[in-house]
């Protein structure tokens, strides 16, 4: 089967989609609400805060729909995907599923998600912008509803800039050369107490996509094939090797430590570096953990190149194995369209993708939420990116492994870039 996996962001230009029928799901029409008491299961990944808020939203939903009982299940990120894969394989998948961009095609393309056109009587998507909805489509079928949106940002610690007497950069003009100079200056002026920056990429798909775009390249082509140029990837590593040699970025070992410590224990949060990268919505935990004056800046080179992009932070989807699709759709409708739910959930799952809800929650945002919303509204976004094809769900650990090999000097950038692209291609071919 030929795959056309197009992910388009807010405000993206329209791309013609071939009218291939989506595999797996039936025509619908027989989806209706039951009069009997119904129990549905809902699953998500995330920490305790999310669980508390979601349980509150479920309680509010059950009050409005007394015959529907919702059983919530939540896990951490890794355990979540193991459990989802095995329950789906056992034909015992939860009805309502929190989905991520990395896995959307893996599941949607294999017929395990319901085409939400079947449940359109219960789940109203009219408040969403068309371009937003398209981020949850595969072959033109709506498999998932975006919950929130995020965007890559440079995160700078203004306190550390002030402490070491370095001027904050002008993010409307800065380039990667400026970035390197500032990083080196920070390290020098601190006398080595801190490093200017962490790794500038190579730890996740977003950073690779952005770097590729700056060089007129893309990670994936529109068919979901790998189009990344090895020379472009190698240049990202060479840039970082240069900065590591001059002390502008932290050492390879420090990067590994920072990464395994998570957002709240990483180098940016603990003040070991003054500049780093993250999604705008991560500013809230970063602020809480660091207690510093952190700012979100445009990525180097972005204002001129418009290479950054909007990433749906997560989605709601319905399992095609669900016995109660109508009730499941009703629940999602409540979560994404009702102010009662928005009041409870706030921006915990990202800036709401539904504009009406975004406006509704904007009034009482905390500091981090305000920064995140300001950033996404002012940042320059280029066209949306192609959704991760099946087989690409393991992208992040894979690129991290190669980045480590390069940064520890075990492999040359050119050699690693070619090997990485070969491995990624073979994963994607194997999943096709």
């Amino acid at each position: 089967m030929q795959r056309r996996l197009i992910l388009k962001g807010l405000g993206a230009s329209a791309v013609a989609l071939p009218g291939l029928a989506a595999c797996g799901t039936g025509g619908g029409g027989d989806v209706e609400l039951s009069d009997e008491p119904v129990t549905i299961r809902m699953t998500w990944w995330g920490a305790d805060t999310r669980a508390e808020l979601t349980e509150q939203a479920i309680a509010a939903f059950q009050k409005e729909h007394p015959n529907i009982t919702v059983k919530g299940e939540f896990k951490d990120w890794n355990g979540y995907w193991d459990a989802l894969a095995t329950t789906t394989a056992a034909n015992d998948s939860p009805d309502v599923i929190q989905m991520d961009e990395l896995y959307l095609a893996s599941y949607g393309d294999r017929g395990t998600l319901l085409d939400l056109a079947d449940t359109s009587d219960f789940l109203d998507t009219s408040a969403f912008e068309a371009a937003t909805l398209e981020t949850g489509q595969i072959d033109g079928a709506q498999y998932a509803i975006p919950i929130g949106a995020g965007m890559l940002a440079s995160v700078v610690n203004a306190d550390l800039f002030a402490q070491y007497g370095v001027d904050l950069p002008d993010d409307t003009t800065w380039t990667w050369d400026d970035y390197a100079a500032i990083a080196n200056e920070l390290t020098e002026k601190s006398g080595g107490a801190i490093n200017g920056s962490g790794l500038t990429g190579g730890t996740d798909a977003g950073s690779i996509r952005y770097w590729a775009r700056l060089h007129g390249n893309e990670l994936y082509g529109e068919n979901g094939d790998v189009t990344l140029d090895p020379a472009v990837l190698a240049s990202l590593w060479e840039y970082n090797l240069g900065l590591a040699a001059s002390g502008g970025i932290e050492s390879a070992a420090q990067s590994v430590e920072s990464q395994s410590a998570g957002i709240e224990g990483g180098s940016l949060a603990t003040g070991k570096i003054a500049m780093g990268f993250g999604y705008n919505t991560q500013i809230t935990p970063l602020l809480a953990a660091s207690g510093a004056d952190l700012r979100l800046l445009q990525l180097p080179g972005n204002v001129e190149a418009a290479a950054n992009f909007i990433k749906p932070s997560m989605y709601w989807a319905i399992s095609s194995q669900s016995d109660h699709p109508a009730e499941a759709a009703t629940l999602i409708d409540f979560l994404v369209n009702h102010e009662a739910a928005a009041d409870i959930l706030g921006t915990e799952r990202g800036i709401p993708a539904n504009p009406a809800m975004r406006e509704h929650v904007a009034a009482d945002l905390d500091e981090g939420g305000k920064l995140a919303v300001d950033y996404i509204e002012s940042a320059v976004a280029g066209p949306a990116v192609v959704v991760t094809p099946p087989g690409g769900s393991g992208f992040d650990p894979m690129i991290q492994r190669y980045t480590q090999e390069v940064m520890f000097g075990e492999r040359t950038p050119q050699d690693a870039a070619e090997a990485f692209i070969d491995e990624l291609k073979s994963e994607i071919d194997a999943a096709a």
Partner: protein
Amino acid sequence: MSATTELRNLGGRGSTAKRQNKVAFWFLLPWFLGLFAITLGPMVASLVLSFTDYNLLQPAEFNGLENFSRMLGDARLHQSLGVTFTYVLVSVPVQLGLALGLAIVLDRGVRGLAFYRSMFYLPSLLGASVAIAVLWRMVFGADGLFNDGLALFGVEGRGWISEPETALGTLITLNVWTFGSPMVIFLAGLRQIPRMYYEAASVDGASRWRQFVSVTLPLLTPIIFFNLVLQIIHAFQSFTQAFIVSGGTGGPADSTLFYTLYLYQRGFGNFDMGYASALAWLLLLIVGAFTAVNFWASKYWVFYND
């Protein structure tokens, strides 16, 4: 599985073997029930799946021996084999040596034996747990306790778990640290050695060392053998420590990519369950081969005193 076979071998010698076998059967019955109900089904399923291309979400497709031929050119598999063999071949002998040494010291009749025995045994209970793996990450991190300790002596530490050259070493240390359970078994074994042998040896003027080499070691060989088989199998199956310490990646740069971790990544990370099943069977063959060689070699060095 082979652990129980071994137990039977240890206990099943002599003329009362038949009666003892019957008793053993009843004791093993719950284990057999578990084996048939819980273990055997999935094992057969994974054997079948190892000849298929199976992504968990769609029906498996038979692909013959493709999974097995793919192993030959799989560089990460070879890396994981290297890591795992290093781990097993270094950590098991060191761990058993330490366990035996401490068992002998404790057997000398140290005051407060029960206390020390419990103290040393504790890590065995905790070693494979998530909490200890998390603790390990903190102790051997760049800002960890271990480096703080080194700093007291003016030695500058490093990121022990974040550098490829030392990361596996910290996991080996973790495994060695769980020497308590073989130690307790050694202690029990030492207690089995009749005192009269030592009396006879000392009457003959044998030194302590001579007594150890000529009396203790030979009579302890069945116990050493038992611990060796058990710990090798145990070490091959290590998963939790590497998973937690590296966040499931086997990093940095695949330096802690245990076989089981790679198998897990293929199966769940890459929806590659057919290949993962084949990997599981290869592991079974490797562990089986190690155990078989162990049993074969035991003829030449294990001494059964009955």
